[in-house]
């Protein structure tokens, strides 16, 4: 037993292994409470439900590693969903509506990065501003009434399946893969880690932290807009009240996945595991009929758990560092 455990540990890093074990435990518990939980249909359902969180979590992975944050995606996803549905209902071609909506997402990102870079507001507070403003715009745009979607091309986004897996899931998986590779293998990804580790030092080493932060917020805005379009397509309407607390689910997922609030640490593999874990948890709560008020409490508990594990990981990193340098110095 222990030798198999060791082999597995050699193959998968310890922090990822803990996530996989946690996922297995979550699945086992909910399956024992409701037999339908462990099924292909439910598995696909979880992935579909996770697709929007997954997209936003990509942005959060980058932003939090860079030492930033974003609390606006829930509002922005609702706003862009309403925007795209409105544009199409006004008779604009679907593709044009999508392009305008993605552009609107980029503008939101520019606004966020402007507040952070130029007015020097902490990202946490700056994006709270955006959260309020764009929730308001979402309601204003449609006068508080959901905008129904009849355009076939639009609806097909949410309805299309490839290899019996919905398109929305494919979009999430492909983007996670692409952005995961960018983070791990490119100059840009490396710069994100550098500015998250030490912004001043990174600037003195020739990087441009403000530009990187701008790109990250724009990236987050565009990805969220894409998520908003896909979500509205699945709902057949642009809903101004949708996606409340989306950012908290995404942040919980990202922190569960090992991205640290102190910045500079984490990766996309952890994020995908975190996203699946949190949606498996959320879907499970619904399937075993936990009253919706208690679901809030449970989700809060999961966020607390994520933050606690972030703290424990950080303490362990510091301890390991001290031990390692003790050893290195003793050898000298």
């Amino acid at each position: 037993m222990s030798s198999i455990w060791k082999k597995v540990k050699g193959f998968i890093p310890g922090d990822k292994l803990i996530l996989i074990v946690a996922l297995i435990i979550v699945v086992a518990i909910f399956t024992s409470l409701n037999g339908n939980y462990f099924s292909w249909t439910n598995f696909v359902n979880i992935l579909v439900a996770a697709s929007l969180i997954g997209l936003v979590a990509i942005g959060h992975t980058y932003l939090i590693i860079a030492g930033q944050n974003d609390l606006s995606p829930g509002s922005v996803a609702a706003f862009t969903g309403v925007l795209c549905a409105t544009l199409v209902s006004m008779g604009l071609p679907f593709l044009a509506a999508v392009l305008i909506t993605l552009l609107a997402g980029a503008v939101v990102g520019i606004f966020n990065s402007w507040m952070v870079n130029k007015i020097k507001i902490e990202a946490f507070i700056a994006t709270l501003v955006t959260q309020f403003v764009f929730r308001g715009f979402a309601y204003i745009l449609c006068d508080g009434r959901p905008v129904s979607i009849t355009n076939e091309a639009y609806i097909s986004i949410g309805a299309t399946r490839i290899l019996s897996i919905p398109l929305s899931v494919w979009i999430m998986l492909v983007l996670i893969l692409v952005f995961g590779l960018v983070l791990a293998k490119t100059k840009f990804g490396r710069s994100v880690y550098a500015i998250g580790g030490n912004r001043d030092a990174a600037r003195l080493a020739g990087l441009n932290p403000q530009r990187i932060i701008t790109i990250l917020f724009v990236m987050m805005g565009v990805i969220t807009a894409l998520g908003g379009i896909v979500f509205s397509s699945r709902m057949h309407s642009g809903q101004p009240a949708a996606n409340v607390n989306l950012e908290f689910d995404a942040i919980t997922a990202v922190v569960l996945g090992g991205v640290s609030f102190t910045g500079g640490v984490g990766d996309m593999v952890g994020t995908i595991l975190g996203v699946i874990l949190i949606q498996a948890f959320n879907t499970g709560l619904i399937m075993v009929n936990v009253p919706s008020f208690w679901q809030y409490v449970a989700r809060g508990a999961l966020l607390l758990f994520a933050l606690t594990s972030d703290y424990i990981r950080k303490t362990n990193r510091e301890k390991a560092l001290l031990e390692a340098s003790k050893k290195a110095l003793a050898a000298k």
Binding site: V182, K185, T186, K187, F188, R190, S191, Y193, A194, G196, G197, N198, D200, A201, A202, R203, L204, A205, G206, L207, N208, G263, G264, V265, E318, L321, L322, A324, S325, K326, A328, L329, K332
Partner: protein
């Protein structure tokens, strides 16, 4: 009564540093014990582990023979151990009396503060100290020296004060103010308190201390008598070997070439217009007191701070550096003073720290990094600069300070710069690594680089520079050639009132 503190086998680790190595000795009340040692020798760290600001990794303290352990400075103060730091720990908006009795203001049984009583008692202490202060004066209206006195009175006002430590207390005091401070220190000593005095000004130590505890690289060396011990002897004990030999043995056989860098009236928000030139193969020293504006000039040159006016010419052509990135592309690089907050990327390993400034050159049009190119640079850097690390994947913070600094130098030398600016490059690193740095600097100059060296250590700047520019009050005070450079000349220029020449 005479108090005492005994340090028993105190060891303290930080990542990459053994800051205190098995320190054991005893400090007696009724005498002033000075701590003497170079930057990074462990003097301040020892005080901070004593008063609970840091926790020792191992070892213990005996206060009047009793083992004590403080979890924070607050507990230490309650037990009668106070440390007066260089940075003031007082509240500017409160009065002298309110600061002295902070957290312990006399109050009636309803918790209502009796400000009159506080003022009366503060007045008594002020008189004890013989200071011309009023208890009601707001601390922000006092000079820095008197603010420090308030801090000392705050410690003194506790009936149970046993140990009082001063960490470089005279750094920002005038001579007259130092006289007042020393009178008070004398009074505390005569009261039988343990007085610990950290400084590296030899003349002061002679004047105020009875005994001197000498530290070197985190180790306690010895305690000697402050009066009868020869100054050279003390320096030898604290440095471990004669630095003079190191400077004499440097390879300075080189030719100084044509003009490389010319700076004309360059100014920023933080420094007045400054002009100077630097030649190929030259080591140009920048001397001056802390806060003279040396770092600020360099930050303006590399575009780290916004430039207000002036011009920079490199090899005769005017350049504009809007950011450190521009400066790097123009061939001017800067190794910052504070390695920890401005140099290293603590979350990344040695390899990524070395290659961070080469990302543009090491990646293709898609931005994908060529790991082969990177590892070549890393291997070369580790070899050329003799960086001691088990492998390139070690976190940089696990390395010793000197080796971290070498990584930063390797980072910049990979970009093949023309001008290398080093800001206090040997601060907080041990003597062995220092001499490696000195050899490195001479090697760079010999290769034809222009090297700018900022250093507050006078022997270092005199030993290495071909020419020295002295700054003070955010402007150039004068220029001294290698031949005419002495510590006295540099100091008198640094403290002179007028402008250049």
């Amino acid at each position: 009564m005479r108090h005492s503190v005994e340090f028993k086998n105190i060891t303290k680790y930080f990542p990459g540093v053994k800051a205190l190595d098995n320190v054991s000795f005893r400090a007696e009340g009724g005498e002033v014990l000075a701590f003497l040692g170079e930057n990074g020798a462990g003097k301040s760290t020892l005080l901070k582990t004593l008063n609970g600001d840091y926790q020792a990794t191992s070892g213990e303290y005996l206060l009047d023979g009793q083992a004590v352990h403080f979890r924070n400075p607050h507990e230490a103060i309650d037990a009668g151990v106070s440390v007066i730091y260089q940075e003031r720990q007082i509240l500017m908006e409160l009065s002298v009396a309110e600061n002295i009795f902070l957290g312990r203001m006399p109050a009636n049984k309803f918790g209502w503060i009796d400000i009159r009583k506080a003022n009366r008692e503060a007045e008594k202490i002020i008189n004890d100290f013989g200071l011309p202060l009023k208890p009601q004066t707001k601390v922000k209206d006092l000079s820095i020296a008197y603010q420090q006195m308030v801090e000392i009175m705050k410690a003194y006002s506790r009936d149970n004060l046993k140990v009082i430590c001063f960490d470089e207390p005279t750094a920002s005091l005038s001579d007259a103010e130092i006289d007042v401070l020393f009178k008070i220190i004398g009074k505390l000593r005569d009261d039988g308190k343990v007085v610990i005095y950290v400084s590296h000004r030899m003349s002061e130590i002679r004047r105020i201390a009875d005994k001197v505890a000498i530290f070197k690289d985190g180790r306690y060396v010895a305690t000697v008598d402050a009066q009868s011990t020869d100054e050279q002897e003390m320096i030898r004990m604290m440095v471990g070997r004669d630095l003079g030999d190191i400077y004499d043995n440097l390879d300075r056989d080189k030719t100084i070439g044509e003009e490389l860098l010319r700076v004309e009236n360059l100014s920023s928000d933080y420094v007045d217009p400054v002009s100077f030139t630097l030649h190929k193969g030259e080591v140009l020293g920048f001397s001056g007191l802390v806060g003279a504006g040396r770092t600020e000039v360099m930050r303006a040159i590399i575009g780290a701070d916004k430039v207000l006016g002036g011009k920079i010419f490199l090899e005769g052509k005017q350049i504009v550096n809007k950011s450190p990135h521009d400066a790097m592309n123009n061939g001017i690089v800067y190794v910052p003073e504070d390695r920890k907050t401005q140099g290293i990327l603590a979350n990344l390993d040695v390899a990524k720290n070395i290659t961070i400034s080469m990302l543009d050159k090491n990646s293709n049009t898609l931005g994908v990094i060529d790991t082969g190119k990177e590892s070549e640079i890393v291997d070369r850097g580790i070899k050329n600069f003799a960086i001691k690390t088990p492998n390139a994947e070690k976190k940089i913070v696990e390395l010793s300070g000197g080796n971290q600094q070498k990584c930063i130098v390797a980072r910049w030398m990979a970009t093949q710069p023309k001008v290398l600016i080093l800001d206090e490059p040997t601060k907080g690193i041990d003597v062995g690594a220092k001499s490696e740095f000195y050899n490195m600097i001479c090697r760079f100059a010999k290769q034809g680089l222009g090297v700018i060296l900022i250093s507050s250590e006078l022997p270092e700047i005199i030993g290495l520079s071909d020419r020295i520019i002295v700054m003070g009050n955010l402007a150039v005070k004068g220029e001294v050639s290698r031949e005419e450079a002495t510590e006295e000349r540099l100091l008198s220029l640094a403290m002179s009132e007028g402008g250049k020449n």
